[in-house]
Amino acid sequence: MRKFYALHFAVALAFATASTGAFAHALLDHASPGVGSTVSGSPREIALSFTQNLVAGFSGAKLVAAGGGAVPLGKAVVAPGEPQTMHLSVGRALKPGGYTVEWHAVSVDTHRTSGAYRFTVAP
């Protein structure tokens, strides 16, 4: 019986060591423009990097100005070399002010997550 427990302990330890990190469900890791940041000049694209590989067809974002007006964004593009990042082109130059990025992401394990963050374009 001791051998049985020793084997289980060894297996659990091996798995714990092999596990480099927990993901499951794509969460926003970092973004450009950054979360809560202030940028000078209008960004040409929004880049959102997640903790998991994305499915481009079902991932995307909306950009909303502080006054409530929506800014057109392109479809999400996920480059093969960067499977955890979606790039969205900004449809027009952004005027100075606050903006909210409302994102949704579908990861390769079929789970959908969503969230929002703000950034500011400096005058």
């Binding site: 297996v11 659990a12 590989n53 079902f58 499977p83 079929t110």
Partner: protein
């Protein structure tokens, strides 16, 4: 979990129902591969499988639909042909979903013919392999991802083999009531097989937990994922305690005395194991839609 409660409820219910049907469709035929003797319970098991197969198809299609609804943000959006095309043709899980639909259709056909335990078991095994790409296990890539998939398949396969073997065992035990010693050999062989399944379940379960929780282990007790995992572990421990009682207390007593009272006790114990097994599958359904702590 989905922001739409209807989608979340559908995901949970269909996963639970589907897992229950698949456990039966995989574990029950496997039981009759190593259970000796001629029992009417074998025919009863086939009738049970014929009933479980269409339920597996219904719950399987429902589960895929709920996954699709979760991805597109609600059931209404699932009716959009563009979304359907995207899902099946431009996602890594589209092929998995299509293969699953084909396997479910084959299961429906096979279960309508004469008893074919091996064919049902093989189809259920393929469905177990297929579902590894429809959840948390599919999040990895490369060798690490392949290991996650492999560990998931071992875990679910061993769990379904154990849980699905209990109902036919129960039927065989009930049938042996007039002559209790008749079922001793079946119970002994199932106990040996169950021990192998349990070792695989515990080892692969530890692996799964390590993959999904990893460095965030300290956050586990305060998370919904941790609560579901604890419930699953507690229910499994209760099942193990009953299995231990059956193997090490009741079985030797039955072999020595042949008492019908002992057999009645065993039947109740196995029935309780089945009920606890449903709880384990419910906890597994919850874990699949709950984000692990990060």
């Amino acid at each position: 979990m989905s922001s739409d409660p209807l989608v979340t409820d559908a995901l949970l219910l269909t996963r639970w129902a589907h897992f229950t049907c698949l456990a039966l469709l995989f574990g029950a035929p496997l039981f009759w591969l190593f259970a000796p003797g001629i029992f009417r319970a074998r025919q009863q098991t086939w009738r049970m499988l014929r009933f479980a197969a269409p339920l597996a198809v219904l719950s399987g299609v429902g589960w895929l639909w709920a996954i699709f609804a979760n991805i597109v943000g609600g059931f209404e959006a699932t009716l959009d042909p563009e979304n359907l095309s995207l899902f099946f043709l431009q996602t890594p899980f589209g092929v998995t979903a299509a293969a699953r639909l084909l396997l479910l259709a084959a299961l429906l056909v096979v279960a309508r013919t004469k008893p074919r335990f091996a064919a049902v078991m093989v189809l259920a095994a393929l469905l177990i392999v297929d579902q590894a790409w429809l959840g948390h296990a599919a999040e990895g890539s490369g060798a690490h991802g392949a290991l996650m998939i492999g560990v998931y398949i071992v875990h679910v396969g061993a769990a379904f083999a154990w849980l699905g073997g209990l109902p036919p065992l129960l039927l065989a035990m009930r049938e042996a009531r007039p002559e209790p010693r008749r079922c001793v050999e079946a119970l002994r062989r199932f106990s040996i097989a169950a021990l192998v399944f349990v070792v695989l379940i515990v080892a692969s379960g530890a692996g799964n937990a390590a993959f999904h929780v990893g460095a965030a282990f300290a956050k586990l007790p305060h998370s919904a994922y941790g609560a579901a995992l604890a419930a699953k572990a507690a229910l499994t421990c209760a099942m193990l305690a009953l299995a231990g009682f059956n193997r090490f207390v009741a079985l030797p007593r039955l072999r020595a005395t042949g008492e019908s009272r002992t057999l009645t006790l065993l039947v109740r114990s196995i029935a309780l194991e089945c009920a606890l097994g449903l709880g384990v599958l419910a906890a597994a359904a919850v874990l699949g839609v709950t984000p692990p702590p990060q």
